[in-house]
């Protein structure tokens, strides 16, 4: 990975922020409604900025960003729409695991998704063939390719062409949150898959499976933080504008207390160390994911409360943030499982778990 300058990093973040405000936020309702055309349109804009393969170096057509730069950009995108930010995260995490020869076959602008799965319970790999069923694979519907991450004691990643014989994807119509990252149930019956590059021994520039999983967790934390920022901005604005009891509702302690709690949660955002390494500390990623997503659920729930009955109506866009935040709490694993993972690592006396 090439090093980016401070100015380039700031510029990338600013572009992501601008894109989120100008292009994504106005389309958030359409994205939430499941519009595939609007998703394609937004994806094209992201590709033009190079955010679809931001982690890849220039020889692979990437922007050469470090993980922390990508996380910062994803957070900005999530202020516009959490689902789109999730698409960017899933695509970057998937592509980062691919070997050079696999990357060479990825068409420009193709959307990929990294799909975590429980080995043996959900899918099995035998002789380069995948069998099983993955429910609610975020970002899988409409994706060009998937990287299936088997989250076992030794995590492994396998690349799967979504059009391959033996694979069947069905849109998850019940998906409640992050709907711009359209989920699918993935059924694989002897579908041919290929192992990705194993970057864990340093022999490849590709990201190891364990690091990719950590990236998903850290990225989900960043998305949750972006969603919470948006919720706070909207609630604050509404609290100044809406009057009850003869005054703006922000004058009521009952409302200002909620806004204050939202501001405190934002201030306590557990930043992932802002270095430019390609790998993330596993325990830090888990902790950040738990803290940020819990905070986002609390803040978005409060934001709807500040709006009152108006906030419960879809047209205001505030209830969508609550649904999106809830999905962050459940992905890539529910937070109680993440707690479990974190404590398992502590019990083993390791700060960085499997990929550390």
């Amino acid at each position: 990975m090439t090093e980016t300058t401070v100015a380039e990093r700031a510029e990338m973040r600013a572009m992501a922020r601008e894109l989120a405000r100008r292009e994504l936020a106005p389309r958030a309702a359409s994205l939430d409604a499941g519009g595939q055309d609007v998703l394609a349109e937004c994806w094209r804009l992201l590709v033009e900025l190079g955010l679809d393969r931001a982690l890849l170096d220039e020889q692979h057509g990437g922007a050469g960003l470090g993980v922390s730069d990508l996380l910062a950009s994803i957070e900005e995108l999530a202020v516009g729409d959490g689902g789109i930010a999730m698409c960017v995260l899933l695509c970057n995490a998937a592509l980062a695991t691919l070997a050079d020869e696999q990357l060479a076959e990825v068409p420009w602008g193709a959307r990929w998704a990294l799909v975590p799965a429980a080995p043996e319970v959900e899918v099995t790999v035998l002789g380069g063939a995948l069998d099983g069923r993955l429910a609610c694979a975020l970002g899988a519907h409409g994706a060009y390719g998937l990287v299936v991450l088997l989250d076992g004691p030794v995590p492994m990643t396998w690349a799967l062409d979504t059009g391959a014989a033996g694979s069947r994807l069905e849109r998850d119509l019940a998906q409640m949150g992050l709907r711009a990252a359209p989920a699918a149930s993935v059924e694989v019956t002897g579908a041919a898959c290929a192992p990705t590059a194993d970057g864990s021994d340093g022999s490849s520039t590709a990201m190891s499976a364990a690091s990719a999983l950590a990236l998903l967790r850290a990225g989900t934390a960043a998305i949750a933080h972006g969603i919470a920022r948006r919720a706070y901005e909207m609630a604050l604005e509404y609290a100044h504008a809406r009057r009850q009891g003869g005054v703006a509702i922000i004058e009521h302690d009952a409302v200002s207390d909620m806004l204050s709690a939202m501001a405190v949660r934002l201030a306590c955002w557990p930043q992932i160390a802002a270095d430019n390494r390609s790998e993330i500390d596993q325990a830090q990623a888990l902790a950040a994911k738990i803290a940020a997503t819990d905070a986002a659920v609390a803040s978005t729930t409060d934001a709807v409360q500040v709006f009152g009955g108006t906030g419960y109506m879809v047209e205001t866009g505030i209830e969508k943030l609550m649904r999106d935040a809830k999905y962050c709490q459940l992905f890539p694993e529910p937070n109680w499982v993440a707690h479990d993972e974190l404590m398992r690592s502590q019990r083993a006396g390791r700060t960085a778990m499997r990929g550390g």
Binding site: C136, G309, Y312, K326, Y327
Partner: protein
């Protein structure tokens, strides 16, 4: 899916019933609960997800077949007084029914809950209301073509403000009921009205003088077939979608004097009593939602291969125990509030010998002109208020309101916590269960908002319990608008009356009386 909680008797679920001190016919309550559960199992649960999906695509879509099935199960008349043909239930009955229905689908339950809310102000109108719309509602239930009711209070600029008399004084009220000969003409926009687009009758509250909204706040019974009434739009909601929330426009809708519920200007205290009655059922709605999520996730953990081994985990066991604990406490709160309201605060008025005696008078006699005229007279309305003052007190109603508010606020929080925790236990990969839990989680949020936000409800708890304050929960013995003022208001109204108004009043058959 087995209903784990429902297998327990009401006495087991709410031990205070065992003492028999509440004056409740427990067997009758058990029968009502069993009827509600049967309706929920046979009609509500199987349709819940599909109705949620359809109304998510088209908020105006409404399942009348479900309402007909509910009518057959008596879900529309349990709150209507016995002399009008109903079951004569109060807050306790409404709460028990709501928990059962909400464990299956809160949106569908809300259709019946909003109907009960629409009826509530009529109960305060006393015997004068028995033989009109209430009897018509019962008849419609029996005919197989049921009619629904709604209650309209919220306005675009006044949500929380209209749920509290103090805030009402400073509220931006845009609605106005102008007096005209023979009645009133209503001009208003009312928002987020549950059942608003499907109701045949709506109890609507607005001032007769917007400059003194609190003092002139009045309840009207509106026929939605009236000229000038329109459904402006049906909202696209996050949850509880089966029950449409509508914006309603009243453009000079004529309401005859006979359909003023209670006395002109008594609307603010009436609203307080209605909220005291309706908040325990909202606590029950929330408890039912939490129970629905708990039962579903427990069943999944016990039966689904994807959940194999999870029940052995202490984390899961502790989470389930926490849910059971929260649901139990939420149920105690709403039952405490409902039974206190029904038997300490309002029950005596509803079962007063004078009221019971009138109930024994055949409807055919009550319907004769002289009797009917007297029942709708100002003296009869004054007598109804006097009866309230004799049988209860403002302190008792304030305390009941505070308990109801506590049950509502706590229940709403429990519903959010339990549905959120259930969803987290199941995760995204839980298949069909996930969709059900997600729906309940979306549904749960509304419980923290409607019937006053949880924050407003807790301020009621502060006033009523922490500070032992007494608020004006009963209409004054002498009406807000005394005779001189009434005459002045009438003269004012007449001066502004145009020929068009006269013509409308005439068409409605009530012209010329004032």
């Amino acid at each position: 899916m087995a209903s784990i909680t429902a297998e327990r008797s009401l006495r087991e679920q709410y031990p205070r019933l065992a003492s028999g001190s509440e004056g409740i016919d427990v067997r009758e309550l058990e029968r009502l609960r069993a009827r509600a559960r049967r309706f929920a199992d046979e009609h509500v649960r199987p349709r819940a997800l599909e109705i949620d999906r359809r109304t998510g695509e088209d908020p105006g879509w409404f399942d009348w077949d479900l309402v007909r099935a509910g009518a057959q199960a008596g879900m529309l008349s349990f709150l209507i007084p016995k002399p009008a043909g109903g079951a004569g239930g109060l807050s306790t009955q409404a709460a028990v029914v709501m928990e059962e229905l909400c464990a299956a689908c809160p949106g569908i339950a809300l259709i019946f809950g909003a109907h009960a809310l629409g009826i509530s102000p009529l109960l305060l109108g006393g015997p004068s209301q028995w033989d009109g719309v209430l009897a018509e509602l019962v008849a419609s239930e029996h005919s197989g073509e049921p009619q629904l009711m709604a209650c309209a209070i919220t306005e675009p600029e006044a949500g929380t403000d209209v749920e509290d008399p103090d805030l009402l004084r400073r509220a931006r009220i845009t609605s106005h009921a102008h007096r005209v000969p023979g009645g009133f003409r209503l001009s208003a926009t009312k928002r987020f009205i549950s059942n608003g687009s499907v109701a045949r009758w709506i109890t609507v509250l607005m001032p007769t003088d917007p400059r003194r909204a609190a003092e002139t706040w009045t309840c009207f019974l509106v026929d939605t077939r009236s000229e000038g009434f329109t459904v402006s739009r049906v909202e696209h909601k996050m949850g509880q979608r089966a029950c449409p929330a509508a914006e309603l426009t009243f453009d000079g809708v004529f309401v005859p004097d006979e359909r003023v519920v209670g006395r002109e200007g008594d609307g603010a205290p009436e609203t307080m009593i209605v909220l005291a009655c309706s908040r325990p059922p909202v606590g029950a709605i929330a408890t039912g939602i939490a129970r629905g999520a708990y039962e579903r996730v427990l069943s999944w953990l016990e039966e689904d291969r994807a959940a194999t081994g999870l029940l052995e985990r202490q984390h899961v066991q502790l989470a389930l125990a926490g849910m059971e604990e929260e649901i139990h406490l939420a149920r105690q709160l709403y039952m405490d509030a409902a039974t206190e309201l029904d038997h300490a605060a309002l029950g005596s008025a509803m079962s007063h010998p004078a009221v019971r005696a009138l109930g024994h008078v055949p409807a055919s006699i009550r319907g004769r002109a002289p009797v009917r005229g007297w029942l709708h007279s100002g003296r009869a309305r004054d007598a109804t208020v006097a009866l309230l003052h004799r049988t209860t007190s403002e302190r008792a109603v304030t305390r009941s309101l505070a308990l109801s508010s506590m049950a509502k606020a706590r229940g709403g929080d429990v519903a959010m916590r339990v549905t959120g925790a259930a969803l987290e236990l199941a995760g995204l990969r839980a298949g069909p269960l996930r969709a059900e839990l997600e729906k309940l989680w979306r549904d749960a949020k509304l419980c923290q908002i409607y019937e006053g936000t949880n924050q407003l409800n807790r301020l009621e708890v502060y006033r009523g319990l922490c500070r032992s304050e007494t608020i004006g929960c009963l209409p004054p013995l002498r009406g807000h608008l005394d005779t001189d003022e009434r005459a002045h208001t009438n003269a004012d109204a007449r001066a502004h009356l145009d020929s068009d108004a006269l013509q409308h009043a005439s068409v409605d058959g009530d012209g010329g009386r004032s």
